[in-house]
């Protein structure tokens, strides 16, 4: 088997940094998948990604597909020759269509008879021929966030394409992509090496680009940037705050990284650190520095894309921009503090929450009432809850949040603190938004938990109440995230809250702004669907969820405890038999039109098996009363034998109506006992 290296590079204008890694990995994956499907094997493969290039290198790619076996079946033997053995037109036609003489055909036997047959092998196609279409297909399947056109070209891509390199071994592949002929050349760094680079072999790519001031390998560049940042930070005896997301983004906007250290005025550290970090990280794509205690330092590290002839100028420029941005934040912070949050509440009357649902001021008053009600149930401080509720959206009309919307809640906390509001109310303004993303921390204070719940419940009920549920990938009000937030807070904080009750309360607060029919159950179903997803992620089998969900409970924490109990119960050796028995009970009872509520009459018991079961049931009914869900199920486990024996020995549907009903009542109490936790009959696989 002969092999050769393959390299493709698409040179473009600057690609969107947050999409770069996905584009590059997907190009790589699509291409190797296509190559495998074409039946070509290869040794290894890797991708390269820079702001201006997407490339894939495949090592030791087979130069040719294996020979393909071609089998063709002709007319049946009976139709191929007449009695004298002369070939028919059909037989001659078959031979001609195969491009052979009739004498070269063979026959094949099937269960329907014998047929003319021809088998041959055709040489496989060469990789050289196949690659252009494979690359084109891979590019066509990239998850491009938004495609664009440029100039008067008919082509579309993420950004305009300038140059295409495609080599198989030392040869340039004969291909045209985006109207550009493939070459064995590329270009180096935009400023350091704008000249053309010719490659002799795909394996030279990485080194040739490095000579041209481009580090093509994403991970290599990322590691280098990280090292440069850490070295600079170390010199300052400081710690650089490096989030992976920012590091990836910065890696996606430079080809030749050079980290530089800048300073800003110490005075600006008075601004809340969240605002400083935001300006540094998301606006200026720079890394912040802290001392060993984690306090921000008046320094930052930016990563330039050139090895400047005068790095001081680049540093100075960045320092000026940073100073201006941070002074802006300081200015907003100082002016915002002049007006207390409480005075800003009125302004929310001019801000729309949702067209049909009214203003933010209206939302705030509903959320305040709901927060108070939840806090009461949690036995928290209702006055505190009301205060937090009233102030909850006031920071949205501050200049700082207007300029940095990501700081909603955080600024509320700072401003409330500045206004000498109660500490827990101030904290709650920030905790209202927790969890901000999947896996984020939860509110720690009771007031924060109540407020976070109330705000989300109000949104869920309101948006469902005007019938705008999420559809497919569209969830403009982030209801899925809201529901998950509600569930996480209630479950992880172990709150004994009933969503049915809270949804009803919230719906009542909306009055006639919303449609009330089936609303509460709709909201509950939506939440339970999220819970189902969530519990599956935690490894709880769907059958366990179904068994608990059948109880139609509105208390998420209660549901969670039942789920855990049933899940543990399922590990018991008796579980399978008990589930089956419960299913049998369920089937018998449902044929009788549901469970008979009659109590068991001990005098009517005849058989030993039913006497034993009845006694056991009576004993269990008493003993499990104080137990939690898991202990209950574990205590019920030893019912397995008596129940199984009952089914073996006792006939339920006897002619004697009295006895029959007594036995049905017995089964009814089995069902009720297990049913305290879940519908165990649904656990049958």
């Amino acid at each position: 088997m002969t092999t050769n290296d393959f390299l493709v590079e698409i040179l473009t204008e600057e690609l969107p940094p947050k999409a770069l890694l996905t584009l590059a990995t997907s190009f790589h994956e699509q291409l190797i998948q296509g190559i495998r499907l074409a039946g070509l094997s290869f040794a290894t493969s890797c991708f390269y990604a820079t702001p201006r290039r997407l490339a894939v290198h495949i090592e030791a790619l087979e130069t040719q597909q294996e020979a393909q076996t071609i089998e063709r079946k002709g007319p049946s033997l009976a139709a191929a020759y007449d009695k004298e053995g002369n070939p028919s037109k059909a037989a001659l036609g078959f031979a001609r269509s195969c491009g052979i003489d009739l004498s070269e055909t063979t026959t094949t036997q099937t269960d329907k008879g014998e047929w003319l047959f021809y088998q041959t092998t055709a040489p496989g196609k060469t990789a050289f021929e196949l690659l252009p279409a494979l690359v084109e297909q891979a590019l066509a399947h990239l998850p491009v966030p938004k495609v664009m056109s440029w100039g008067d070209s008919q082509h579309t891509f993420v950004r305009p394409v300038h140059h295409v390199l495609m080599m198989f071994g030392e040869k340039t592949v004969d291909a045209t992509l985006f109207g550009l002929p493939a070459t064995n050349t590329t270009y180096g760094h935009r400023f350091h090496h704008p000249e053309k680079i010719s490659l002799k072999h795909p394996r030279d790519y990485r080194a040739a680009l490095k000579n041209a001031h481009v580090i093509a390998d994403f991970d290599e560049r990322k590691t280098l940037i990280q090292q440069q940042i850490q070295t600079l930070a170390k010199k300052q005896k400081a710690k650089a705050v490096i989030s992976d997301a920012l590091l990836n983004e910065v890696t996606s906007i430079v080809e030749w990284p050079n980290a530089l250290l800048g300073q800003f005025d110490q005075q600006l550290l008075q601004v809340p650190k969240e605002a400083l970090t935001l300006a540094m990280e998301s606006h200026q794509k720079s890394f912040s520095l802290t001392d060993t205690q984690g306090n921000l330092l008046p320094q930052f590290i930016t990563v330039s894309n050139i090895e400047s002839k005068e790095p001081k100028q680049v540093i100075h420029g960045n320092e000026r921009v940073m100073a201006a941005r941070l002074s802006d934040a300081e200015f907003f912070f100082e002016t915002d503090k002049r007006i207390p949050l409480a005075e800003r509440v009125e302004k929310l009357q001019a801000v729309i929450f949702q067209k049909q649902l009214g203003t933010l001021a209206e939302k705030v008053s509903r959320v305040t009432a709901l927060t108070a009600a939840i806090t009461e149930q949690m036995q928290g401080d209702v006055a505190l809850a009301k205060r937090a509720g009233e102030l909850s959206k006031a920071d949205l009309v501050t200049d700082m949040v207007g300029e940095f919307p990501e700081l909603q809640g955080v600024m509320g906390r700072y401003y409330a603190h500045n206004d000498n509001e109660p500490e827990e109310a101030a904290l709650a303004l920030d905790e209202l938004y927790m969890p901000r993303f999947s896996g984020d921390q939860l509110p720690t204070s009771k007031t924060g938990q109540a407020l976070a719940l109330a705000d989300r419940i109000d949104t869920l009920v309101g948006i469902f109440g005007i019938n705008k549920p999420p559809t497919g990938s569209k969830d403009p009000f982030a209801l899925r995230r809201a529901a998950l937030g509600v569930l996480r807070i209630i479950i992880e904080k172990q709150l004994d809250l009933d969503l049915r009750e809270l949804f009803a309360l919230s719906a009542e607060l909306y009055g006639d702004k919303i449609q009330h029919e089936h609303l509460i159950e709709t909201c509950l179903t939506f939440c339970n669907d999220r819970l189902k997803h969530w519990s599956q992620e935690q490894g709880i089998p769907p059958s366990v969820f179904a068994a608990v969900a059948a109880k139609k409970i509105g208390k998420p924490y209660d549901i969670q405890q039942r789920l855990d109990a049933v899940n543990a119960f399922m590990q018991l050796p008796e579980a399978t038999a008990l589930a089956a028995a419960n299913k049998r009970v369920h089937n018998i009872l449902s044929k009788q039109g549901g469970a008979a509520i009659n109590t068991v009459d001990f005098n009517l018991l005849e058989e030993d098996a039913e006497k034993i079961l009845a006694e056991k049931l009576a004993e269990k009914t008493k003993s499990i009363a104080p137990l939690n869900y898991q202990d209950t199920l574990f205590a019920l486990a030893d019912l397995q034998q008596p129940i199984d024996r009952f089914f073996d020995d006792v006939m339920v549907m006897v002619d004697d109506e009295k006895i029959k009903h007594n036995r049905l009542a017995l089964l009814g109490s089995v069902q009720r006992l297990f049913g305290r936790v879940a519908d165990v009959s649904l656990l049958v696989k």
Partner: protein, 326 residues
């Protein structure tokens, strides 16, 4: 678009640089403009003059908005004074003003080397990309009132945004074909950087026989008075009336197949809206409704303009016809 004005302080001097342009003094505001005009004229752009109406951005100039519509080629460059009433700060903020200048370059179809040509203009201004860190940072543009969007970048120099670069994909709701490339320089920001000053008002506009004339000499009083007018005295009732009237007039003119005056009505309506916004006369809900009304007008105007050019058989597609556009 360059939002507002130079919001963030420009950098420092670049004494090491030598201005590559011998003819104009780029260290004056007018020298900066002259250098850009000279450069882009040499690139084959027709130098347009500013539109004589109040606009919020250079994109509103017919030389951008209308010329981006339809198949006819177009290469132009021009300065456009812009007004953003809400950005006024009574001349008290060194970085924010309500009246400022953009320099626009519009190339249709966008040439393959548009980025290189842009970088050439920076070199003409004496900015060496091996000294200064020049980056193209993703920034996609959308104008809800113009029914337009495009993909492109902010151009950063040492971390500061100095230009905006956009490939128009849709204008007035119509898909662009061919694509127009738009480059917008924030002139004050660029000048503050080149002249190494911290306040817009300290910029040198020109050196005249009577001495140095600064930006502040010309515009500081204007900022004070116009901010007072925009925020305190602009007549709300009149503006509301004006908006409604202009909207009706725009629609009427479309009916008469007069897309050019219809477009002017749209521009004026848009300015009335901006002033109403500065007076806080429009609530949040209403605001969205006004934007939608403007967007609807934009779409109608764009379609009417296209139809008109089509009826004229797209005259500039003929290589023999060298006239400037209608």
């Amino acid at each position: 678009m360059i939002r507002g004005i130079s919001r963030y302080n420009p950098p420092f001097s670049h004494d090491g640089d030598t201005a590559l342009n011998e003819t104009f003094d780029v260290k004056t505001f007018q020298g900066l403009i002259l250098t850009l005009q000279d450069y882009w004229a040499k690139q084959g752009c027709a130098l347009m003059q500013p539109l004589d109406l109040e606009v919020g951005a250079g994109t509103f100039h017919p030389a951008t908005f209308l010329q981006a519509i339809g198949p006819e080629p177009w290469h132009a460059a021009f300065v456009q004074p812009c007004r953003r009433p809400t950005d006024g700060r009574y001349g008290e903020n060194p970085n924010r003003i309500q009246h400022y200048y953009q320099f626009q370059v519009v190339l249709k179809p966008s040439p393959k080397d548009i980025q290189e040509r842009y970088l050439g203009s920076l070199r003409a201004l004496g900015i060496d990309p091996l000294v200064h860190d020049i980056r193209f940072v993703e920034d996609n543009w959308e104008s809800p009132t113009l029914g337009a969007w495009g993909l492109g970048w902010e151009v950063w120099q040492d971390g500061m945004e100095i230009s905006q670069f956009t490939y128009f994909q849709q204008v007035g709701g119509l898909p662009c074909k061919p694509i127009t490339g738009e480059i917008t320089y924030g002139l004050e920001r660029l000048a503050m950087y080149i002249q190494n000053v911290d306040s817009i008002f300290d910029l040198v506009w020109a050196k005249t026989p009577s001495g140095t004339m600064t930006y502040g000499d010309i515009f500081l009083e204007n900022e004070k008075e116009m901010s007072t007018y925009n925020f305190e005295h602009a007549d709300v009732d009149f503006l509301l009336q004006q908006f409604n009237h202009l909207e009706a007039q725009c629609q009427k003119l479309i009916g008469l197949e007069l897309p050019l005056p219809a477009y002017e009505s749209l521009i004026k309506a848009s300015n009335a809206f901006n002033l109403l916004d500065a007076r806080h006369a429009i609530s949040v809900t209403e605001r969205q409704a006004y934007i939608l009304r403007l967007r609807k007008l934009s779409k109608t105007v764009a379609q009417a303009y296209y139809n008109k050019r089509e009826a004229l058989a797209f005259p500039r597609l003929k290589p023999s016809c060298n006239e400037t556009s209608s």
